[in-house]
Structure formats: C-alpha cells, structure tokens
Symmetry: C2
Subunit: 315 residues, 2 copies
C-alpha cells in the first residue's frame, strides 16, 4: 500500500502556480515545494507537469533542477518522473555507470509483472531509441551478460499454472550446478530467466525441502563469486520483494555513512506501491522505524521530503 | 498484399450453416468447404468459428478434422486458426518435434514486428500456460539455445533511429567472430538478438561494403556448422522476408518429392500478409509461377485449397 497522503481533489493548474511561486524571487520556498509535490500521486504529478509546460512553457523538472541541488534535488526529480519513465531512467543510468550497477537493473526488472516490465521497455525505446536489452548486452560480459539479458528480455508467463515435476527437477539441477565449480551455469540462467514467478517460487520451496537450505543461502557459499552474487539479487527480488527492499534499506543506513542512492531510490519507487508494508517489515526486523532511521541519517529538505513520502506524522 | 479473395459482406451464421451442410450426410462436400473457407479473411473466419460454436455447440476445427484428412486437413485447420494463435501453435509444434525444427521458430519470430511477436507470446501463454522462452530454452542446448532464446525473448526497438557507428563496429565484430574458429559467438548472439531490424539492416549493408560479401554468405563458408546455419535462417528472415519465403517455397517443390509442411505453412501464414509479393518474386526468380509449381506438386482437394489461398484464376 501507498504511503502517500494526497488530496482527492487537486487542481493541476493551481498546483503549478504554487510551485512557480515557490521558485520565484530570491531563494526557493523548499517547504512549499515539498508539501505540495510530496503530497501528490503519480497521476496528479503527471498533470502538474503538463500544466506547468502549458502555462509557463517550462519543463517542471528542469525548473526544479535549477532551483535546488544535492540529494534533495535527486530525490525530488526522481519522484516527479512518471513511474514507468523513472524505471527506464534508473535502468539506463545504472548501466551507464563506469562500473555498471546491475543491482538496480535487476531490482527494476525482477519486481515487475511481465506487463509492467513491458511498459518500462516501451518507455526505454521512447527515451533512448534503443532496446533495454541492447544496452544491457552492451554493458556486461560473459556469464553475467547471459544472465542479465535473459532476465531482462523474457516475456514471462504470469498465470497460476505450475508444473510441480519441473519445479523439483529444476531445484535439483540448480543444486548440482552450484556445486559444480567448472559449470558455465547455463541452467541457472535458463531457469531464473525463463520460468514464471509462481513456478520459481515452487522451485525455491522444493530446493529448501530437498537440500535443507535456501537457494539464496546456497549461492552465498562460494565466496567472491560475482555471478552467484548477481543471481542472488534476482532471486531475492523475485522471492520476496518486501524483504528484499527492507534489507537493502537497512544496509543503506547502517553504520557510518548512508547509501543515499539506495535510500531515495527505494523510498521514491515504492512509495505508491508497497512502502507501507516495507515500513512494517522494517520495524519488525530492526526494532527501529524506517522514519526514525531516515531522521537519524539525513537532514534538511532532503530529510523532510523523504519523511513526507514515508507518510511520517507531522509531514 | 493479400491473395485472399473475400466478399465484403458475409454472414458468419450463414457461413457456418454452409459448412455444417457440407459435413452432413455420406461423404463431405470438400468443394463447398474450400470455396467458402478459402474465401474468408481471418476476421471472418474468427466469426465463423464463434457462430459454429454458438449454433451447433461444436468446435469448427474439430468438426473439420473429423471430416477430412491428410495434407488437406493440415492446411485447412492451420488456415482456420486465428493468425496469432496459429503462430503460437507453429512455434510450439516445431519445438516439440523429436528433432526440433528451429527454422519454423525463427521464421515466426524474425518476420514479426516486436508488438506482433508480443501478441504471439501472449497467445502462447494462454494456450500452453508457459512462456515461449521457457519452451525454447528447454528444447535447445549450448550456443544455439543462447541464440534462440535471445532472438525470441528481446522486445526490440522498432523506431527509425539508427546508430551508424555501432553498425560499422558490429559489422567488424561479426566478421572477426566468424573467422575465429574458437569463438563461442557471444557477439553474433548479442547483435542479432538485441539490435533493431533497421539497425541490423544498416549493419548488414556495412558488412557487405567492408568485407565484400554478404553476412549470410560469409556464414555459409564454414561448412557443417549448425550454429552458423541457424544464425543464417534468422539473418535471411530479418533481411528480406519476401526473398526468404520465395526461396524456401522453391526448395519445397524442387526435385523429387515435396516438403508439404513448408509449402502449406508459407502459403497459409503469408496469404493475408505478403503472398502477392512473394508470388511475384517467385515468378521473377524461377520463371515459373507459384501456382504452376503448386499445381504440378500437389493434387486433389489439397491442391484446390492451396490454389484458392493463392488467389489462382478459376478458384
């Protein structure tokens, strides 16, 4: 469920005017911007962007970028993007890094239904004039490339039908391949990238029943294996997205320093989907609320904005 | 363009009645069936199937199967299927053969736009409760599996944008990889399976300009290479579908015996799309019309039905 507190009736032209006013004159009224844009859902934000363009002949995101900066700007401009476009941009930017961040790509892809992923791919075509698969293949190599391209490209079956025999067979194939140090892992690639989510969940269950440990844990045993580490991200995101997001949020704020990129990405991308459940799980597992963790690790407008998206009291 | 001669106004209930009447009594009135179903387009056929189900509580295809047999039955029942469903069935059946026929799969996939291919995948989910990618991966191995899964799964970019620099680079990469006997052909797989059709056409042109021979011919040089042979099918189907279909039709009727599976598949699947152009090219290249070739190589109702689909005079 969403953590966004948005008015039922809002007027995009009035909203655009509030933003414009907050941007005019010396200094920017960040509070006004946060309390407006942080309290609008993606449909409302889309209309505000349109109204802003029509009334002021300016792109709202460009305007915001010229007014604010740093983590606050990054979080806010990510938030104002249309969700499908935002996923395309996240996938693209993660691939274009000097060291590509496959975790972001896998997160975008593995937490989507096949039809939602398709929308992201269409947005990717529209923005970048290339296929997502093309860029994935161009920014990876070897086994990891095969895995990523497979996971990204397949239009998976999304129905309820499960083949239990195949689930048991696949569980055993996965087990054998993990133990086989010489393997090129064709079967892990085939199974994770082509089987449906429900079929994979059945396979993961059989794996645990037969081999006494989860697939995810089994993949952690051979240390320093980049391929297994990549496969684990996909498996965790497919198996239990809530747990996956709660875990990476925890890691983002734990210890010295904060992984702000992870923190804002998860809060922004999940706010309208399942951030409420992620918050509950976070509290249950860490004995500290996500709001409190964010309060401790961030400051200023950035903090205020994240807390607004989190639906924190007083924001 | 279509070769089907169909009436503008036809009544599916009347049509269903004609078919029912042709099936009643001793013997079947094959001529009536051919002259009706061979003169209806896919929308009309869909409505006739529905009408048949509603009026007679019978599946038209099952009814036809119980009345006729052999090549005629195979061609007619393939024809009556909805085009998208038909492609899903063709892809499925080609994979389920004792020796899978990847040519049919590649033909279905490589002659489609990304969105048409998507419709076929959706039909595949609906009929088989699995992803097409899943069955492709389960019925192939090694390099050929990687190639097939790649080509089948990618949701390609379908716009006009071309990257000329990448086209030249790709052409050179392809050339080097063909010469490298030790290669696992990762780059051929990447390029053919992820690049858009227009981008690939640019690459094929640069290949010919730089290396003095077409990519397709270059792949024919290392004899007995099953991987290259598979890649060639895809490349020919992408590059020039008309030429590809005209060629396989020619091979199907040439010499002793006829490859009826190819003959009826191409005529049935292309009748409403580009069979007119395929016929023109066929005549131009072989100095014999496709109608004449079909007349010489087939007989009886099967012949009459194929000639009807071909829009031959007097049918």
């Amino acid at each position: 469920m969403s953590t966004i507190v948005a008015p039922v009736n809002s007027n995009p032209i009035d909203d655009a005017q509030v933003i414009k006013k907050a941007c005019l004159g010396l200094g920017t009224d960040d509070k006004a911007i946060i309390s407006l844009l942080g309290h609008r859902n993606s449909n409302q934000l889309r209309l505000i962007r349109q109204a802003y363009q029509e009334v002021y002949q300016e792109d709202l995101i460009k305007q915001l970028k010229s007014e604010i900066s740093g983590d606050f700007e990054k979080a806010l401009t990510l938030w104002v993007l249309d969700p499908v476009e935002r996923d395309a941009v996240l996938a693209h930017d993660s691939l274009k890094k000097v060291v590509p961040d496959y975790q972001v790509l896998l997160e975008v892809v593995c937490t989507k239904t096949p039809d939602d992923l398709l929308q992201v791919k269409r947005a990717y075509h529209k923005i970048y004039k290339r296929a997502l698969e093309e860029d994935v293949a161009s920014h990876s190599t070897g086994k990891i490339r095969k895995f990523l391209v497979g996971v990204v490209s397949t239009y998976k079956y999304h129905g309820d039908e499960i083949n239990e025999v195949a689930a048991v067979t696949d569980a055993n194939i996965l087990h054998d391949e993990i133990l086989d140090g010489a393997s090129v892992h064709e079967e892990i690639i085939r199974i994770i990238s082509t089987r449906s989510k429900k079929q994979l969940l059945a396979t993961f269950n059989h794996f645990k029943d037969i081999h006494g440990t989860s697939l995810s844990k089994a993949l952690r045993v051979p240390a320093e294996n980049e391929f297994f580490a990549t496969a684990r991200v996909a498996i965790r995101a497919i198996k239990n997205p809530l747990k996956y997001f709660a875990k990476i949020l925890r890691r983002a704020v734990k210890g010295l320093g904060t992984e702000d990129e992870v923190l804002r990405r998860v809060i922004v991308t999940r706010a309208e989907i399942d951030l409420k459940e992620i918050k509950e799980l976070y509290l249950e597992r860490n004995n500290i609320s996500l709001e409190q963790a964010v309060t401790e690790d961030t400051s200023g407008d950035y903090r205020a904005f994240l807390l607004t998206l989190l639906g924190a009291e007083g924001y």
